[in-house]
């Protein structure tokens, strides 16, 4: 057996102190302690219940135009010191980079974001099965025969301390249900609900939605290739616009993997689209009060009425590209260590009721879900993505018949420019294929390329 793991405050203190001893210019240390439980189910039956209790320190160091970082899933002083010493030795021999990033100068006052913690969520154990049963029964009541999915609860605490004087702690809870219901193998629907507090969590409506779509999708026929006006359900556009927010990260731009590169100040989307990363949204799924460089979080408008306003930034990207910090710096690994990421992607609402959007489509398609989006070229945005779950033909403003075998084959900048209408009502989407939560409406896009297999 080993000694008990250090507590998070001890770890961040030790990292900053040891960094000073090693003579490293700047150190940002963060620790996330997370306790999660996930019940997985398939065919209306539980397949496994998983639980985690993890303390994950990260350390990021800058010195003489050099950077280094580590994730240390071994919360002991020995492991932390070994890693920092090894990083210092690597920095000693590494050639300097182009710019000298400077960590945000503290101290800062962090205002907690309201409605992000509910102590009933981490206490749930037997209730995971109750929640699952409620969702499955709601799907069955709508005509589904079998359902699969997950219920996830999470309680997290995060601590940060930097050599630049930032120091703070934060905490939150999440609960998430994702359910996919089937009537037959090729008629399925998905629903989800996620929240930071139990009163905003609705497993029954998620199950009912999944069951209702699956039932409507019975006996699908193969659709045809062509260009269509498409009403995208929130799940599809959550995937596309979540990726768009990722493309707005200066990290993606720097890697040469973004069609938004060099376009700050330019019109990159229809004027109907305003896209925000709001880490301070009360009750926001990933809302938090500081990033892992110790900078306070904020609401950042990425695209305003179609115009790209800013990239998401960390201290390094500000030093390299200019602009202002956006409180977006988190340890992601990759090639930067700490990099800007989107956490709560928000799409401003439109003016239409959902039913009106079907009328506005007239003749076209209604696509409720997708997966497996892959790009041919990230700079041009050429991509394809597979339609999944209910896909429907719309004729004269009404759902005519379910379809199958369809693929969205298009160009992401063109999709963004071709948004014509958005609904008033919005909802959170977060599931396996959409890891960053997105709060958004139904959205209509014109001239969407659709293909399918022919042999």
């Amino acid at each position: 057996m080993e000694d008990s793991a250090l507590n998070p405050e001890q770890i961040v203190d030790e990292a900053v102190e040891y960094g000073a001893k090693l003579g490293i210019g700047e150190v940002a240390a963060a620790v996330t302690r997370e306790r999660r439980k996930m019940l997985r189910f398939a065919n209306n039956s539980v397949t496994v219940v998983q639980s985690w209790d993890q303390t994950i320190p990260t350390v990021y160091m800058t010195w003489k135009r050099k950077r280094a970082g580590a994730r240390v899933e071994n919360p002991s002083i020995e492991a932390l010191r070994e890693v920092m010493k090894t990083l210092k030795a690597a920095m000693d021999i590494a050639k300097p980079g182009q710019v000298e990033p400077t960590l945000p100068k503290g101290p800062f006052t962090y205002e907690p974001v309201p409605q992000t913690y509910d102590d009933r969520i981490p206490a749930m154990t037997n209730e995971l099965a109750d929640v699952t049963e409620e969702a499955i029964n709601a799907a069955l009541a709508e005509g589904a025969r079998r359902s699969s999915g997950i219920v996830l609860t999470s309680e997290w605490e995060r601590f940060v301390k930097t050599s630049a004087g930032a120091e703070g702690g934060d905490r939150g809870t999440n609960i998430e249900l994702s359910i996919r219901a089937f009537v037959t193998d090729d008629s399925s629907g998905q629903g989800n609900s996620c929240a930071t507090r139990l009163e905003d969590f609705n497993p029954k409506s998620a199950g009912a939605e999944a069951g209702r779509i699956a039932n409507q999708a019975r006996n699908p026929i193969f659709g045809n290739e062509g260009k269509y006006t498409v009403l995208f359900g929130p799940a599809v556009m959550a995937e596309f616009l979540g990726r768009t927010a990722d493309f707005a990260s200066a990290y993606s731009v720097d890697l040469g993997l973004s069609f938004l590169a060099g376009k700050v100040g330019q019109k990159v989307a229809s004027e109907k689209l305003t896209l925000v990363d709001d880490r301070r949204l009360p009750g926001g799924i990933n809302s938090c009060s500081f990033d892992e460089e110790g900078h306070p979080t904020q609401r950042t408008t990425i695209i305003e009425r179609g115009v790209l306003k800013t990239y998401l930034h960390s201290s390094y990207s500000v030093a390299k590209y200019g602009g202002a910090l956006t409180g977006s710096a988190f340890y992601v690994g990759g090639t930067w260590g700490i990099a800007p990421v989107a956490l709560n992607v928000i799409v401003e609402p439109g003016e239409h009721r959902e039913e009106e959007l079907f009328e506005r489509v007239g003749d076209g398609l209604y696509l409720t879900n997708n997966w497996y989006t892959r790009f041919q070229n990230y700079q041009t945005g050429d991509f394809s993505s597979i339609c999944r779950d209910g896909a429907f033909q719309i004729k004269n403003g009404r759902v005519e018949r379910p379809l199958k075998g369809l693929r969205i084959s298009d160009n992401m900048p063109r999709i963004l420019q071709s948004i014509t209408s958005l609904s008033k009502d919005r909802r959170w989407i977060k599931w396996w294929e959409v890891p960053t939560p997105v709060y958004l409406p139904h959205i209509v896009v014109e001239n969407v390329g659709i293909t399918r297999a022919t042999k």
Binding site: V49, E73, G97, F375
Partner: protein
């Protein structure tokens, strides 16, 4: 380390569970990056943690932590036991495990020079040698964006279960990730994201001859951008290179023959399968098609000898001469199908449950030279590499968009073509293969599955193959 896995097993046994296992992972890894010739942050990854699984009256509980104190280990056994028990009311079919031999053994991937002995300086030297060969005067193209990353990782795993299995395995793995963007005035850009990866020590990197390998990739991209014309559309013959054969075998053979997908366990995530439990013996392709998955190939990127359920693994023949012959199994699906596990349950880290995964999936070579495959095509396209691809969640409707591709005219390869699109069903694809080449090659990749997601290191490959009378087409917005 032995006591760290034995203690939770003993604790679980004391609670009267049907079965328990404990698995300790110790990971040591690093990443070194050169971006447009400038070093990016050196990165290290360390992890040391443990997972337990318990079977309680047919319900499965899993718990994991990186706090290895006695109190914490007791805690995860208790929570796995308690949550499994609480879920019993919703377990309609009790989970059982196939009976397997309880081995006590030690296995490892062989290294001549340990990755732990390689300095950061040496790693940067390799990347800088590659960088030198990417100059415009060398590759005859402008590369405004170049990212080169060397990742290495050593994982030590200790496994124990209540049946007496004790397995200690060590895998050392190294890979190069390269992201290249070539630009040409008036022609736009073209991108390639590629991997080279194997298990073993630093000697693998030395034998790859990376400067030449990456430089040739860049030169080819420049040529495509300058010279490639629109790909033809319509019905024609195709020759697919080993890289395309490999992704096909992975996506539309390996995945649909994972028994957990067949049973619907991944329905809400990576999806289900067009393959049904009674399809052993079903013809899915021509007699030219034999696809295997073999974790035991030395130095392969997906190498292992025992899976994370302590089961010895070996080659699995998924399709033999066009007929579905075997599924990939864990102990849970083995019991469900009335067969033994074939050692396909992998967990990528201490905090992930073992689930069914591929390792090294490839089509077995046939008897044709590449010249013979092309020589018998009057009008067609040779797709050597790809960039964009995807497949539906039943693994039936798939698409591969060529990156390096050429026209075949009257038995010979002629001019390069841009973005040929093959969009085809699984039986349509395997049913069109009339000839398989002699020379197999492999690509390293990371395969995603499970919730929470597990990115598993895999290889896929095979030889070049020929498809008769398939439709090349699709619809693309010209950007």
């Amino acid at each position: 380390m032995e006591d760290l896995v034995r203690y939770p097993i003993d604790s679980a046994s004391a609670k009267g569970v049907e079965y328990a296992e404990a698995r300790l992972h110790v990971d040591t890894g690093s990443g070194v990056t050169l971006r447009n010739g400038i070093p990016e942050p050196v990165q290290l990854a360390r992890a040391k943690g443990i997972a337990v699984r318990v079977l309680v009256d047919g319900a499965m509980g899993f718990a994991s932590t990186n706090d290895l104190s006695r109190e914490s280990l007791s805690g995860i056994v208790e929570v796995a036991y308690r949550t499994a028990k609480a879920s019993k009311k919703l377990v309609s079919k009790p989970i059982r495990l196939s009976k397997e031999k309880a081995d006590q053994t030690r296995w490892e991937s062989k290294s001549r020079r340990s990755l732990l002995d390689v300095t950061t300086e040496e790693k940067f030297d390799v990347l800088e040698e590659i960088e030198k060969t990417l100059r415009p005067d060398v590759v005859k193209a402008d590369l405004p964006s170049r990212t080169l990353v060397l990742f290495d990782n050593i994982t030590d795993r200790y496994f124990a279960n209540t049946e007496g299995a004790r397995i200690h395995g060590t895998v050392s793995r190294i890979s190069l990730l390269y992201i290249l963007t070539v630009s040409e005035p008036g022609k736009g850009t073209i991108q390639r994201i590629g991997n080279k990866g194997e298990t073993g020590g630093w000697e693998q990197v030395e034998k790859w001859n990376l400067p030449r390998f990456v430089s040739e990739e860049a030169t080819t991209l420049g040529r495509i951008l300058r010279e490639a014309k629109h790909a033809p559309r319509g019905e024609l013959d195709l020759v697919l290179g080993p890289e395309v054969t490999g992704i096909i075998c992975h996506e539309s053979c390996g995945h649909p023959q994972e028994a957990d997908r067949i049973l619907g366990r991944e329905a809400a995530q990576a999806g289900e399968s067009y393959v049904k439990p009674d399809m052993i013996g079903y013809r899915i392709g021509t007699a030219a098609v034999t696809v295997v998955d073999d974790p035991s190939i030395p130095n392969s990127y997906g190498f292992y000898l025992y899976d994370e359920e302590g089961v010895r693994t070996s080659r699995r023949t998924l399709i033999r001469e066009g007929i579905i012959t075997e599924f990939l199994h864990s102990r849970e699906t083995g019991a469900e199908f009335g067969v033994n596990s074939n050692g396909a349950a992998r967990a990528v880290s201490y905090d992930r449950e073992p689930i069914i995964r591929m390792a090294n999936t490839f089509m077995l070579p046939g008897k044709y030279t590449d010249e013979e495959l092309v020589g018998d095509v009057r009008k067609g396209v040779f797709i050597k590499t790809f960039m964009e691809w995807n497949i539906d969640d039943r693994r039936y409707n798939q698409r591969y968009v060529g990156l390096e591709a050429y026209l075949i005219e009257n038995g010979g390869i002629t001019s390069p073509v841009r973005n040929p699109i093959l969009e085809i069903t699984t039986p349509g694809l395997y049913g069109s293969v009339d000839a398989v080449g002699k020379n197999a090659q492999f690509e390293a990749a990371t395969c995603g599955k499970g919730e929470p997601d597990q990115g598993a290191p895999v290889w896929h490959g095979g030889p070049a193959i020929r498809l008769r009378n398939v439709r090349l087409g699709g619809q693309r917005v010209e950007s």
